[in-house]
Structures are given as structure tokens and as C-alpha cells.
């Protein structure tokens, strides 16, 4: 369970948002909306623990995420608006390295089949810098299919994806929520999800 209480964010001398409150139990989905510069990315980075909150608390399973340290990261997957891919490595190498770093060993065949499912078959031996923006985004999202984490934090992941890829991500999210996962997604798209708990947070208000 993810609990956010009275969270505020100040960057430089600008206040982005204050008094953000929400509670996400297993199987719930939170869509974060707001105009550009309203602090969507900052909110997601706060939830990941990349930023330290200046006000308020973020608790995971009842404990403050700052005190959980690395234990928190075993249950967290984050895909940022920068894809987090090495340009020199192929999608297969990228996927194997990122899952290896989070403790899941992935063989060459497993990586190939996962990338095939996300629509990159035939492209998985090219260095990532030769791929299109959408293909790179797909490679970054393939990471979600290898992990067993319960909290997904996705930042603007649907940009530069075509409609079939958006459908694929939707089904991926649906499956994750059905398994009892939690997803926090910053996006302007209304996703067609049948989650048992669908919340929206608008940072503009």
C-alpha cells in the first residue's frame, strides 16, 4: 500500500504543488495529470525516492520510504521520460543488463522472446541509437515484463508510441493491476482500464 500525506514540492524558489494526499491499495491505478511544468515528474521522482520530500510523507506498507532504503527498490519499477537505455547496446543487451541489475537473470532467448512480444523482433540486434523513438520506448517498457515488482511508476511513457503499442501497454497495466499491483502513471491519455480502483490527480488545481 502506498500512502502519500500532505506532500509538497518546492523546486528552487517555486512551489510546484502542496497538500497532495492519496492512498493506493493493491490493484489501484492513479493517473497524474496537469499542464506542463505543474510538477508531474517531480511527484513521480518523489514517489521513487529520487527526490527527498520537503513537506509531507510517503509511506510504503506503512514505513517511510526514506527509511526503507534499498528494500523499497525491490518492489519498485520506474520508467522515466528519458528511457534509461544505453545507446551503444542492443535492446537485448539493454534488457539483460537492466534486469540483471535488479536481480533477475535473463537468458538471451528469454530476452529475445520478451522483445518479440513487445514488437521488436528483427530489431533486437541493432544498437539502440539506430532505433526510432517509439522502438526505444518499447525497449524501455520491456523491462516491466521481466520484473516482479508491485509498484510501477511510469512517466509520460505513452508519448511517441503508436496505437498498437498503447494497446499493448494498456493490457500490460491491466494484467499488473489484476495481479494486485499498483501503478502511478503520468499521462494525458485516458487509458481504457478496468481497474477496481481508478483515481485521478490533477496537479493544476
Amino acid at each position: 500500500m502506498l500512502e502519500v500525506t500532505d506532500l509538497g514540492c518546492v523546486r528552487g524558489d517555486r512551489r510546484l504543488f502542496s497538500d497532495v494526499n492519496f492512498t493506493l491499495s493493491s490493484g489501484s491505478y492513479l493517473q497524474v495529470q496537469g499542464p506542463n511544468g505543474s510538477g508531474k515528474t517531480s511527484l513521480l521522482r518523489l514517489i521513487c525516492g529520487l527526490l527527498a520530500p520537503s513537506e509531507g510523507h510517503i509511506r510504503w506498507q506503512g514505513a517511510n520510504i526514506g527509511s526503507l532504503g534499498e528494500d523499497y527498490f525491490t518492489s519498485l519499477s520506474y520508467v522515466g521520460h528519458r528511457n534509461g537505455l544505453k545507446e551503444e547496446l542492443t535492446p537485448i543487451e539493454n534488457l539483460r543488463v537492466t534486469s540483471g541489475l535488479s536481480g533477475t537473470q535473463l537468458s538471451q532467448q528469454e530476452a529475445t522472446s520478451i522483445l518479440g512480444k513487445i514488437g521488436l523482433s528483427g530489431r533486437d540486434h541493432l544498437p539502440a541509437r539506430l532505433l526510432s523513438e517509439g522502438q526505444r520506448r518499447r525497449t524501455a517498457l520491456a523491462r516491466l515484463m521481466t520484473c516482479e515488482t508491485s509498484l510501477w511508476v511510469l512517466d509520460e511513457v505513452l508519448t511517441s508510441l503508436d496505437s498498437s503499442a498503447v494497446r499493448f501497454v494498456t493490457s500490460l497495466l491491466e494484467e499488473h493491476l489484476n495481479k494486485g499491483g499498483i501503478a502511478v502513471v503520468a499521462t494525458h491519455h485516458e487509458l481504457d482500464l478496468s481497474a477496481n480502483s481508478y483515481q485521478q490527480l490533477n496537479l493544476a488545481s
Binding site: 528511457n83 551503444e88 536481480g103
Partner: protein, 219 residues
């Protein structure tokens, strides 16, 4: 997981081997300029050899620091590394170890060839290699603090040298001191032991400081 950090950085170093080789060539050329500039005065060359090789090693390892975090910072993989379920201390240690394997080790192994240019006796060549093998990991460890602190700053490269070079001085003194002592045929153990002590000290504290600096730089 620690293994994956090392494997990842070694693979990336292999794919970008031009960068790695150019640092090595820099080291070779800087050291080779001195015999050419000073002329064939064996006695003088032998006297300055330890200092010259060690100063060049210092500069070369500083040049390689740019590769340590800057690329990962730009493409967002550093964020991912911070979010892996293992202590950041180990991530940093893995990255520094990979950097040392591709910059420090080849530099140390090349140094006897350079020592011959300066007319160093055989036992001094051996001490040179040992001192560099002990000293270059310290340089990489201390340098990683500077690289993490200046991450994302404009003109970070110059700032790193101002921050880090003063901290390299003890390594320079004991490293060059050990080679000097072996030329003079006095005991080298003292200097080498101190280099080893510096290595232990920086293994314990530097990755921890670098991890803290990385968290600040990524906020």
C-alpha cells in the same frame, strides 16, 4: 548484481574503446615527451622518471573520470542504477572497478616500456608497476567523488581537476617515492605499505562519499 554493474561498464568500455585507448595514448605521449625534450642525459632522466610517470598517470586517470558518470547521467541510466535493489555503495564500487580495469591496469602494465626510455634499472621497473597497481585504484576512487559532485555542471571537467588533483598529492608522493627509493636502493616497503593503506582507506570511504554526492546531484 554487483557483477552486472562491472559487466555492463566493461561492455560499454569495449564498445567505446576509442575513448579508452585515447587516454592510454595520452599517458604514453606525455611521458615520452620528456626524454625528447630533455635530451639523452641518462642520469637526469633517471632522477625525474618516477615523478614524470606518476604525474602523467595522475593526469590520465583524471581524464578518464569524465566517462564514469556523465554518460549515464545524460541518458537516464544513472537514475535506474540508483533505483536498483542493492546498496549504492556497491554500484559505485562496481563502476569504479570497471573504470580501473580499463584505465589503471593497462596504464600500469605499459609503464615498464616507458621506464626503459628513462633508463630505469630492472628492480625500479618492477616497483613502478607495483606502485601504479596500488595507486591507480586510489586515484579512481578519489576521482569518483569529484566526478559525482560535478555531475551536470557546466565546465565540470575543469572543476573536477581543481577538486581532485590536490587530493591526489599523497598518492603521488608515496607512489613516486617508492620508485625513487628503489633507484637509490633504499627500502621501498614503507612507501608501498602507505599506498596500500591509502587504498584500504579509500575503498571504505570513497564509494560512500560518491554515493552521497550522486544522490545530491540527481535531486
Amino acid at each position: 548484481m554487483f557483477r552486472w554493474v562491472v559487466v555492463r561498464d566493461l561492455t560499454l568500455a569495449w564498445k567505446g574503446r576509442v575513448d579508452v585507448l585515447s587516454t592510454l595514448f595520452f599517458f604514453l605521449i606525455v611521458v615520452s615527451l620528456f626524454p625528447l625534450g630533455i635530451g639523452p642525459e641518462t642520469h637526469l632522466l633517471r632522477l625525474i622518471a618516477p615523478g614524470v610517470v606518476w604525474v602523467a598517470a595522475l593526469l590520465a586517470s583524471m581524464l578518464s573520470l569524465g566517462r564514469l558518470f556523465a554518460n549515464d547521467y545524460q541518458d537516464g541510466t544513472l537514475e535506474q542504477l540508483l533505483l536498483t535493489p542493492q546498496p549504492l555503495y556497491l554500484v559505485v564500487l562496481g563502476k569504479v572497478m570497471a573504470l580501473w580495469l580499463v584505465s589503471g591496469v593497462p596504464l600500469a602494465l605499459l609503464s615498464p616500456v616507458l621506464g626503459i626510455q628513462f633508463g630505469l634499472p630492472r628492480n625500479a621497473l618492477f616497483v613502478l608497476v607495483v606502485s601504479l597497481l596500488l595507486g591507480t585504484p586510489v586515484l579512481a576512487l578519489i576521482g569518483s567523488i569529484g566526478a559525482a559532485l560535478t555531475l551536470g555542471l557546466r565546465g565540470g571537467g575543469l572543476l573536477v581537476s581543481i577538486l581532485v588533483l590536490p587530493l591526489y598529492i599523497p598518492v603521488l608522493i608515496f607512489g613516486a617515492g617508492a620508485v625513487d627509493a628503489s633507484i637509490m636502493d633504499s627500502g621501498v616497503q614503507g612507501s608501498l605499505s602507505l599506498l596500500g593503506a591509502l587504498l584500504m582507506l579509500s575503498l571504505v570511504f570513497a564509494p560512500w562519499a560518491t554515493a552521497a554526492a550522486l544522490r545530491i546531484s540527481l535531486e
